[in-house]
């Protein structure tokens, strides 16, 4: 199993394990202006994301709740850190950036400083069956900010 271990550690990087064990911004956001659910029927991941957007279109605060695997929880937690303080449009394009990063085989592009931590998710690329876990929160972000009422799913 000696050659298996390194890869696994690439998927379950320290930052991922940390965020999955101690998710940031976990819980309901009482005065949220935008919210959306994400469901991954494959593994039963269920997330609800909350955002408070102020009058100028800035995401003042973010949070999430739900349950899921380490990858989906870490991804949601990293997301809340990354998008808080962004303009809505920037957050959306950030969602697109990350989705593309995780789902295509293109060389990794540089990431803006505030997205730097999201590189921790890069390991999922090698695990096609887990990509959806990593992108779930980002789909839900997209849905929340476009006020889509259907829960986002990864199927």
């Amino acid at each position: 199993m000696s050659d298996a271990a390194p890869d696994m550690q690439d998927l379950y990087r320290e930052l991922v394990i940390d965020h999955s064990r101690n998710p940031r911004h976990f819980g309901r956001l009482e005065d949220a202006t935008h919210t959306a659910d994400g469901i991954n029927p494959l593994c039963g991941d269920k997330l609800r994301l909350y955002f408070r957007v102020d009058a100028s279109g800035t995401i003042e605060s973010s949070s999430f709740e739900g349950s899921g695997c380490a990858i989906s929880i870490a991804s949601a937690s990293l997301l809340t850190e990354a998008v808080t303080g962004l303009e809505v449009d920037d957050a959306k394009s950030c969602s697109a950036t990350i989705s593309t990063r995780l789902t295509t085989a293109a060389p990794y592009a540089n990431l803006d400083a505030h997205l730097e931590n999201l590189k921790a998710l890069d390991g999922v690329r090698a695990y096609p069956s887990r990509v959806k876990c990593a992108t779930l929160a980002w789909h839900a972000l997209q849905a929340a900010l476009t006020n889509d009422t259907q829960p986002a799913t990864t199927e």
Binding site: A4, C43, A70, I71
Partner: protein
Amino acid sequence: MGATAKTVTATDWRADFPALDQSVHGQPLVYLDSAASAQQPAAVIDAVASYQREDHANVHRGVHTLSHRATEAYEGARDKVRDFINAKSRSEIVLTSGTTESINLVAQSFCRPRLQPGDKILITHLEHHANIVPWQLVCEQTGAELVVAPINERGEVELDSLLGLIDDRVFLIGMAHISNALGTVCPVEKVIEHARQRGIPVLIDGAQGVPHLDVDVQALDCDFYAFSGHKMFGPTGTGVLYGREAILDAMPPWQGGGDMILEVSFDKTIYNELPYKFEAGTPNISGVVGLGAAVDYLQSIGMQTIARYEQKLHDHMVARLSNVDGMRLIGQARRKASVQSFLLDDIHSHDLGTILDHQGVAIRTGHHCAMPVMQYFGVSGTCRASLAFYNTHDDIDRLVAALDKARELFA
């Protein structure tokens, strides 16, 4: 179990299954997901391919040679299935696309026209969605009520509670022979006995029964028995509904189309006799040929030999898993077969599945299409290792070693 089983070995059987002879992530594959879908012996794969290379044509309506051969092969497989589960007559063997269709057929053709508001369908808390949702749909359509018999913390159906729920409004009882999520072998004999006394029909979801037990529908005395080809080492897209002849006879057809009719005019259509009345359209001929080959293969080993071997292996697996630190076994029924669900520490089942896969060990994770079971145990999913007779002690060692690795990684 015991002495006789000791002499049986899976090594030869394993070699019959081409898919087991491969590496995954550089490790020899350990396939512990047969409850989801079993692998096929070469005998089945080859039977399908050579049917297709030599004998294929549409069945039933042709005079030419290939059509005759195809019909013989298809109907011959029906005879094999009849023999395999010891049905009284080939008219009682309806070939479907799987357990799911078999149960939907009963819900829609047997129940829907007869159910009155206030009638009840009685199932148990450990059913697969295939034995829940069809009843929910027909209850919604008719105003009938779905009643659920409880399970206990070992994952057993509470027999007395179930029997206590039987009253005059119970129209049908549906229950699994073996739970796919928990491995529980359910007390179907006792339920059928009580139900027969009260004249209530019983459907057994045998998807997990047929691959592991020597099933005899006449001895069971059930009214319907549903199962899938792909869980008994045959092709996907095949399944069986066994039904007592008198009951099937009284049911209206399920789907309309070719082959299920004797005569069609725009005024009046006369349906075909059993079992064809329930087999509209071109059937899955090549799949059914494969199903017949799977029956031949299983009978060449013998279901009792298989059951004995598996029981020993199952008990060994449970014993080994119990000794893993941080292990929570889910499903500890006193009668249990082939399946063990579990959780390890606080590792999410999905993560554990990935880590095991990385070591070549294939298990299933998630809700196993049995969400109410997950709700009962307060978990969103479990890891499930499920056995077939092609698994070995070595497979169990590999599983346990992989679990140890996972604990290291998440330590």
